[in-house]
Symmetry: C2
Subunit: 333 residues, 2 copies
């Protein structure tokens, strides 16, 4: 089934959405919000599924679904932890600044604790107070868990994944170096991120969801031009089971925890950086990776970071069409 | 007024507590949970205050207040961001490992994004799966904000502080070096923290709350022995207004955001590390600081980190008695 939150109140109002994202049915009689449904997933999931089936069959007319009326599926969450599972991407970025990447990065997941108190809706503008901060998009896959026990194995952790979606993990690139140099990770350099209009249960993904990875291209557009189409199932060193288990090593995770894949990134056929979409490559899911490639190729980056008025679109499709709906944001003041 | 959450359900049930922490009155008719009250603070605060006054005057009998029946005031929160405002402490720790502290640490607050999805109740055991992780307590002051706008000034940020409390920011010291070396900050090294039984509005603190700081000694006990009594208002380089404004520089903060002071730490009278309480000093609010002093004095730490069965107590008192109640935790399996 597919779930979304209408932009009502602080936590949205839960709706079930048809597979083709054309229609929705109010689910607030089952759970007022998605967080409430996740809090009681065993009770709510079968009821929501039954509602979704009635909507799908046409037993229920429903109403037109409009992503611009959506909040993030979880407008605020109790946890957002973002992995960096495409280690290829990390290695590239380090290479461009002539830094060695520790070998343990291939075996021990990199993860940061993100701010979860305010996710942007899929079509809300990215607020950018200062263009010199170097605003960038990052296209990623996310999963949402039910409660996870401290010390969960990879298999237990993967079994706790109940929803899958997309995120635009907005980053302020020019604030990152000073912040990371302080040693305590990101804070000001990671403003509010946006989530896809719809989160879906893994069964909606068919065989594309396997081995804890989502095997579909993540389509990223900048001002309407194709920017990236890297396959999220390729070059993902750590699957979601491993990422969730990493997060749960020393503490329980509350239902509604959102875990991110990190910026989706594919190597080129020669094992090096991938080519731009315009050159027939898989392109990039963030501007920083293209700038890294430019730096490696010509000594300096050429593509600027986002400015006000730029438009970012992040989407994933299957044979039937859009899976999660599109994150479609304009950079605003 | 003083507020607590009984250990009921995922988010607790809100009660108003008498100034002497002897009695409580059910506040769930005003707001079921503390988060719900914070979400509508303008509506709820006057009603809660009126209830507190009736309890104080004896117009309302109330029930006995028992901290062991309490959850954390916010059993789960949308945000927990911890500053490191006692720069003296940071400098000491670096000194012990012969690392230079950047001069900007005196002017630019250090802050990390913590996990907020599960706070321990004040008397809940600290779950410790592996003693070799090097478990430590950290006694700190926290504030809770209402909604804070992106780019809030220090004054606006300080004005958004609605509650004050204490935290035991549990740390797994032996996991920290490897984790920080990866560059993305703490994750596994910061398991669930515990909050004081009661959070209070700033007016309860009288003149001890001034300049955005809480001018009272933070009393820390280890297995019943006085371990620390550093004054939280002394050597605090960044006040809470500055810390909250730092957090809000590039994003809004949701009502119920918890901001920590970092481990409270006082210099000795000579400007160097403080002495132990047993030697007449202000002592320490974490074991790591004592180990640092031991390293500086004799080349190696002597005091071990916490083991199962150790008991940690963190409290702050005024002339009338305990302000927030005590965090009183045993280290468990």
């Amino acid at each position: 089934m597919k779930l979304a939150s209408l932009n009502v109140g602080r936590d949205g109002r839960l709706v079930v959405v048809s597979k083709d994202l054309k229609r929705q049915a109010d689910a607030s009689a089952i759970a007022l919000t998605l967080q409430a449904a996740l809090d009681e997933w065993d009770r709510c999931a079968p009821l929501l599924r039954s509602l979704a089936e009635r909507l799908e069959k046409g037993d229920l007319a429903g109403e037109p679904f409009d992503p611009t009326r959506c909040a993030a599926p979880l407008p605020r969450a109790y946890q957002w932890a973002d992995g960096s599972a495409y280690v290829n991407h990390v290695e590239l970025v380090r290479k461009a600044r002539k830094a060695e990447m520790p070998a343990t990065f291939w075996t021990d997941p990199l993860m940061y604790q993100g701010g979860s108190d305010g996710f942007l809706g899929p079509c809300q503008p990215i607020p950018l107070a200062d263009e010199s901060w170097g605003c960038d998009m990052e296209g990623e896959v996310v999963v949402v868990t039910r409660d996870v026990l401290l010390g969960a194995t990879r298999e237990q952790a993967l079994g706790a994944v109940v929803l899958v979606g997309l995120v635009n993990d907005v980053s302020l690139r020019n604030l990152i170096p000073d912040e990371l140099a302080k040693g305590f990770g990101f804070f000001q350099s990671k403003p509010a991120s946006a989530l896809s209009p719809v989160f879906v249960t893994p069964d909606e993904l068919g065989t594309a969801w396997r081995d804890g990875k989502l095997h579909r291209p993540l389509e990223v557009f900048l001002d309407g031009q194709p920017f990236g189409r890297a396959n999220a199932g390729v070059d993902m060193t750590f699957d979601f089971g491993t990422l969730v288990a990493h997060a749960a090593k020393t503490r329980t995770l509350c239902a509604g925890t959102i875990i991110g894949s990190g910026t989706v990134s594919n190597r080129g056929p020669d094992g090096g950086p991938g080519k731009a979409v315009s050159e027939g490559g898989a392109g990039y899911s963030c501007i920083a990776e293209l700038r890294t490639v430019e730096t490696l190729q010509s000594g300096a980056p050429k593509t600027p970071f986002l400015k006000r008025g730029n438009r970012v679109r992040i989407e994933m499709r299957d044979e039937a069409g859009t899976i999660f709906g599109a994150i479609d944001q304009v950079v605003g003041a």
